[in-house]
Amino acid sequence: MASKDSKAAMPADTEKLTRQQLRELETKEKSKGQRILDRFIIALPFLCGLAAICEYCFIPNKSPNDNPYTYLGALIVLVLAYLCYGIFAAMKLRAGDKTVIEKYRYKAPLYAALFLLLAAYDYLTLKTGVLTQPFVPCMNYILNIAWIDRAYLLECTLHTLRLLFLGYFIGVAVGLVTGITCGYSEKARYWVNPIIKFLGPIPTATWIPIIMVVATSLFGGAVFIIALGSWFAVTVASMTGIQNVDKSFFEAAKTLGASERQLVFRVAIPHAMPSILQGCTQAMSSACTAIMVAEMMGVKAGLGWYMAWAKSWASYDKMFAALFMICIIFTVVTKVLDKIKRHVLRWQNGVVK
């Protein structure tokens, strides 16, 4: 797509080497064949997108397909988005910034696979009916129903998000406090450890029937369950993190005038940060599981409930629409957590590389 010029020559003035130039100097120069291959790979998602569009338009349908343009429109938007991104990368390359195009090239096979997957799915559902129609609806059905039912779907999404984050943040906050206190103080550990040992192995879902009986509000009960799971993950992770802090760091900090409080906040917590963040990620995945179980079993709102409800009415397209929504939410949340983690732990980068 964009022309890749030959590699930059070794700059005469090595002092002013940038990170980008360094990378280029240290990676082997690409052969001509490789460069042609690169261009082909970059174009591949575009071709696959076109293939998916053709597949949808030209192969005859096996079952009726109302409102056929929704999926087509979505495909076209995806292909155009890919194209725009490509143009942006090419412009950056012209301006001398190779990072965008490299990332683009790196992700291209994945995008191509995505388009192929969409085409294959459409072929198996709408075109041939290998996956029987109303039970495994084709993409066009799912998109249509998502659009028609958008108001309610959105409401459920917001409900899920609210429940998820409320429970998650309460659990993480309390978990940080208990985990850090227990990691630092022997006495606190004495009392909290048995609780962890006792409650820890019980899967969160076990609580749901009890909560449904005991809790005055189901929402509150669900928050409690999600918070409990997150609390457990964060407590254990931060406790071990703090306990594993190298004693020599405490000694060094003490001779540098750190108070007891500063030893906790300026030494123990930063040192345990990798482990703490690991716990937060784990807490999120446990919260995601808990929320789905809670919504499918008791809470009368949210995406999990929407799915169960759609199933009982045999509206499988709605079920799939909710499923995709859930996937999107969890992917985004995990991605954001990962970004935060990478930013906070940037001091580890130098060591690893």
Binding site: E251, A253, K254, L256, G257, Q262, R266, G350, V351
Partner: protein, 260 residues
């Protein structure tokens, strides 16, 4: 720089024993150590491994308390660590989550004195010549650089007593000699009391105004040698060799003048 403070450090009949983890026995790391040290002295501690050199420094730093006896500064018993008594450990123990600059400024920050003293931090970075690395994390430094950062991290408090626990142990011979001169320069400028543990007899003589020789089982002081030679010292001079033989003799390595 502020007026020099004269301090007297005394160890009165200090013993320190550690309980062993596995058995019911105790290790006598130090047995009845009596020492008096003054500002302006550079004291080298030498002795076989396990004779309690680190233990003495940790007692003075206030990281541990003596089993019996007293460790006092100007007659006042030491009860806890203080930035007045700066310690440089054998491992640099730089905080890996802080940049070089923040590591050096750590102590000021802990005491709430960083505001308005940023130039002091910059000055320390200049002293060790790591201007280009001030925003780097310790993981990106070489061993010698890290040890230099650890040194000025303690020095920034202008401690009255400087405790050095084999600070140069992990360095190659050339870096080591450079660092010896750098430490001497810093010490000469302020004239504080410096106490340095070392495995290297030459280093002890090259830097110390006094060499204290210790022996193990139980840990004790066997000899206290004053070296009144002027700085900088010549490693091949007759008197240097004489001192070396004397100390090696005390360490039971005969008088051939080879390195221990």
């Amino acid at each position: 720089m502020e007026a020099k403070k004269n301090v007297v450090l005394t160890l009165e009949n200090v013993s320190k024993s550690f309980a062993k983890v596995e058995t019911d026995e105790v290790t006598h790391a130090l047995n009845c150590v009596d020492l008096t040290m003054h500002s302006g002295e550079f004291i080298s501690l030498v002795g076989p491994s396990g004779c309690g050199k680190s233990t003495i420094l940790r007692l003075i730093a206030g990281l541990i308390t003596p089993t019996t006896g007293k460790v006092c500064v100007d007659g006042k018993e030491i009860t806890e660590p203080s930035p007045e008594r700066g310690m440089v450990f054998q491992k640099p123990t730089l905080f890996p989550w802080l940049t070089v600059r923040d590591n050096i400024g750590f102590s000021l920050k802990m005491q709430g004195k960083l505001k308005g003293n940023e130039d002091k931090v910059e000055h320390m970075i200049d002293v060790i010549g790591l201007q280009e690395f001030r925003e780097d994390y310790p993981g990106q430094l070489s061993g010698g650089m890290a040890q230099r950062v650890a040194l000025v991290r303690s020095l920034i408090n202008e401690p009255d007593i400087l405790l050095l626990d084999e600070p140069l142990g992990a360095l190659d011979a050339f870096t080591r000699m450079n660092m010896q001169d750098e430490i001497l320069k810093i010490w000469q400028k302020r004239g504080q009391l410096a106490i340095m543990v070392t495995h290297d007899v030459d280093e002890a003589i090259y830097m110390g105004t006094r060499v204290i020789v210790m022996d193990a089982n139980p840990g004790r002081v066997v000899s206290d040698i004053t070296i009144p030679e002027p700085f900088p010292r010549d490693r091949s001079s007759d008197s240097f060799v004489r001192y070396r033989n004397e100390i090696l003799n005390k360490l039971h390595y005969g008088g051939k003048g080879q390195n221990a």
